[in-house]
């Protein structure tokens, strides 16, 4: 009852309590019930009745003290106390607000439980880590809460080379949001040229995806080879750390669907699929990738004459492979003949095929995804202008101090 007294006094603050009536006036409305029954009709609004009845009650009390005789006053007093007791008892019984708080806690725990259902044995659910602090490590708690039967998900290692150009922020943001939707575990390796700029770091940090920001320190590279060196930096990192997962090269200016990443997880050694593209003169849509029978690769789509001499007609974003191939030669029965890297000595368009030749021997070691290779899961539209002159870094220190070569 003491607590009720405290909470009620601010509520009653507005009302002037005449004659030093104690704040213990919980009983007042109940008394109003007793005395005002004769006076106001039951159809009037409760709050109006409340106010009117309150005032009437005080008038009654004062009036009664003077006029009624001893025994009746005594009975009324007892009645008053009984009603107060009843009201206090009722209020004390109801645990609603505290129950609400506990309930909401339970709800939060339930929600976190859902997230816990997903995680993998050792690999963690960290891409679910969103802005609110309370969820930061809801997902960490795995081995202990393993009530659900789930098979561990394969880790995806997505390599994205990036460099400064006008739409860099747009592409990184877009790709970051896509990757955030992919169920974990996923590790995003972003490779930048020369130095890790603060602006790129900020964009990456906000995505909430588990990422590693690497730097490729190679000066004065040919434009066509910049991506090659950046991807090689990432491959070196994977080899050095002996990471286990499916490696996928995802350039920031392509468009990906979530089904793509689901299919990637089904890869065991080397997976490939058709990628939709625009032809060089942009007047038609073409496919680059395998022709499959079920999950067997039986042929390739070919397009330009200049690229007919390739062994494998695959786009950089049209294949994925198991990262252990890079450092575990024994498992894949490969000869240990130096690190597997993309080559910067081949002409434009041949980087993919020369790289894949180092990973697999022939089409029998490839898997076509999804079944029948009949679904397009990502698009590579060469919409960017080549050899675009862009100043180094994000911020222009001097006005337009750029030399744009004429072609």
């Amino acid at each position: 009852m003491a607590s009720i007294r405290r909470t009620l006094s601010p509520a009653y603050h507005g009302r002037s309590l005449p004659n030093g009536v104690s704040p213990f006036t919980v009983s007042s409305p109940s008394h109003k019930f007793l005395y005002s029954g004769n006076y106001s009709s039951s159809s009037s609004r409760p709050l109006d009745r409340f106010d009117v009845g309150f005032r009437r009650f005080f008038a009654r009390v004062l009036y009664q003290r003077q006029s009624r005789k001893g025994s009746q006053t005594w009975r009324r007093t007892i009645f008053r106390f009984l009603v107060c007791f009843l009201l206090g008892f009722l209020v004390g019984l109801t645990p609603m607000p505290f129950g609400e708080v506990e309930d909401s806690n339970a709800k939060r725990r339930d929600f976190s439980f859902e997230i816990k259902a997903n995680p993998v044995n050792v690999e963690q659910d960290l891409s679910n880590v969103v802005t609110q602090e309370k969820f930061v490590v809801e997902t960490v708690n795995l081995g202990v809460e393993n009530r659900f039967n789930f098979s561990p998900r394969k880790q995806l290692i997505v390599i994205t080379p990036t460099y400064n150009r006008p739409l860099q922020a747009y592409y990184l943001n877009r790709l970051g949001h896509v990757l955030r939707l992919v169920p974990p575990p996923l590790l995003w390796i972003v490779v930048e040229m020369n130095s890790a700029t603060m602006e790129t770091s900020e964009i990456l940090r906000k995505t909430g995806v588990m990422y590693r920001h690497l730097v490729c320190k190679k000066n004065g590279t040919n434009v066509k080879d910049r991506g090659v060196h950046q991807r090689n930096t990432a491959l070196e990192h994977i080899e050095h750390h002996k990471m286990d997962g499916i490696v996928y090269f995802a350039d920031d200016d392509n468009i990906y669907s979530i089904e793509l990443f689901e299919s990637l997880r089904k890869t065991s050694r080397f997976g490939t699929w058709p990628v939709a593209m625009l032809a060089h003169n942009k007047n038609k849509a073409i496919l680059e990738g395998p022709v499959c029978n079920g999950s067997q690769v039986v042929g390739w789509h070919t397009n330009e004459k200049s690229k007919r001499l390739r062994r494998f007609h695959v786009d950089m974003s049209g294949f994925a492979f198991n990262s252990t191939i890079l450092w575990d030669a024994k498992r894949w029965h490969r000869p240990m003949s130096g690190p597997i890297r993309q080559l910067d000595t081949v002409k434009e368009g041949f980087q993919e095929t020369t790289f894949i030749e180092q990973i697999v021997e022939d089409e029998s070691q490839m898997e076509g995804l999804p079944h029948g290779c009949s679904v397009i899961m990502n698009w590579h539209l060469h919409l960017e202008a080549r050899n675009f002159g862009h100043p180094k870094g994000w911020v222009l220190q001097k006005n337009l101090d750029v030399v744009i070569p004429f072609q």
């Binding site: 409340f50 963690q124 940090r205």
Partner: protein, 414 residues
């Protein structure tokens, strides 16, 4: 009648509900309370008086002039403590009323070209300073240094050597046997930690760290973060000695674990990355302490301390077990299981304790000094040791210290 009762009870309950909800919303940091943590907010002014000896500038200013890098390396606490005391209200110019005496001698300011301090001249320098104060003032001889304190932030404190074996061999400088030592090094049952010493954090430049703060609502998407050496190829080519093999164990066990973002490369986004990490490893190196502890506390990353028997800064004022995670060196191979099995509530609680501003302040040496910072914690520690026991005051002519003890090379004048 029942309608009124119902309406009334509804009113009461809604008011109660609002009150309880408000109580819930205001919890974002947690006060470090209990027997230890309240002490962080004590104000030492008025509780003690410190007298600062006026030493010739060859002991302090001239050394600093020769190499200003001493102001930014992790041993800069000795210099900043001197500057703080000179202008602090606890300083007294009357030595008769002083409780503690401070000797400003910068023993850790003899740097190699790489910036690492050479401790070879430090014992002689300290000895020369003590000889000066004992001959020019009577207060040293009164107690043989028991009410004097010295700041010795080097690797192994007053043992004045960077190699542990040599430091143990030398032991604490004999002349400092009775004095209170304020040092960074702290390891239990070790020769170089005297009982009664005050352990302080290594110096970390506050402005540099403040300049790299990122929005606090950035998601912490790294689970475990560490940047630093795993093998010290220059000094320990075969491995096994450096960090007692603990760092090498971390690398070999977890280099391929995607939860562990560990590497030897020092990125430009080092401080930002710590702010988006849940755990930051603080393994021992050549010495058990490391500036990573300070960085972790400032950036809200829970420190994972892998250093057996370490004594952390202000251990009597900060409840480190509740804030950090301690992993024994032999348990390093199970580090991932240990860290992933910590319940989320525990982690959130630790993050709230770390978010407490008094916690962060206590680890910093800001210029100018602010209340609750490391300078004040040192003074609090000194104040807690007061009043001095009567027995430290020696009778006339009684000598306890042996002025000729120690290696012969130390006895040469500086």
């Amino acid at each position: 009648m029942a309608k009124w009762v119902a309406l009334f009870s509804l009113l009461c309950l809604s008011v109660l509900g609002i009150q309880s909800k408000e109580l819930e919303r205001t919890q974002h940091t947690e006060r470090i309370s209990g027997s230890a943590g309240d002490v962080l907010e004590d104000d030492p002014v008025g509780r003690l008086k410190v007298f600062v000896y006026e030493l010739p500038s060859k002991y302090n200013k001239k050394i600093l002039q020769k190499d200003p890098r001493c102001l930014t390396h992790m041993f800069a606490a000795e210099i900043f403590m001197h500057r703080f005391l000179l202008s602090s209200p606890v300083r007294t110019l009357n030595p008769e009323e002083a409780d503690w005496f401070y000797t400003p001698v910068y023993t850790t300011c003899d740097l190699t070209p790489n910036g690492l301090p050479l401790p070879f001249k430090s014992p002689r320098m300290m000895r020369s300073a003590i000889q000066l104060i004992s001959s020019n003032w009577p207060y040293w001889n009164r107690t043989e240094g028991a009410d004097h304190f010295f700041v010795v932030p080097h690797d192994f404190g007053a043992c004045f050597h960077y190699q542990e074996e040599k430091a143990i061999e030398r032991g604490i400088l004999p002349l400092l046997q009775r004095a209170t030592l304020v040092q960074t090094f702290g390891q239990m049952n070790h020769v170089c930690l005297k009982s009664g010493s005050i352990t302080i954090p290594p110096y970390a430049p506050p402005q540099k760290m403040q300049a790299h703060l990122i929005p606090p609502d950035t998601p912490r998407s790294i689970f475990v973060y560490f940047r630093g050496l795993f093998y010290d190829v220059g000094n320990d080519p075969e491995g096994g000695y450096y960090a007692r093999g603990a760092r090498a164990s971390v690398w070999e066990n977890f280099k391929d674990n995607p939860l562990f973002d560990i590497s030897t490369e020092h990125p430009t986004t080092y401080y930002e990355d710590m702010q988006r990490a849940v755990f930051c490893l603080c393994p021992l190196g050549w010495a058990p302490w490391s500036p990573r502890l300070v960085e972790g506390v400032i950036f809200g990353c829970i420190p994972v301390i892998i250093a057996d028997d370490i004594v952390l800064p202000f251990a009597d004022a900060i409840p480190w077990e509740e804030i950090g995670v301690f992993v024994a060196e032999k348990d390093v191979p199970n580090l991932d299981t240990i860290l992933t099995s910590i319940p989320p509530e525990v982690i959130l609680r630790k993050q709230r304790l770390l978010a407490n501003p008094s916690m962060k302040q206590a680890m910093l040496f800001p210029q100018p000094a602010q209340s609750g910072d490391a300078f004040h914690q040192i003074l609090n520690g000194l104040a807690r040791k007061l009043p001095h026991d009567r027995s430290i005051y020696l009778k006339q002519g009684v000598k306890v210290l042996n002025w000729t003890a120690g290696p012969v090379a130390d006895l040469k004048p500086w």
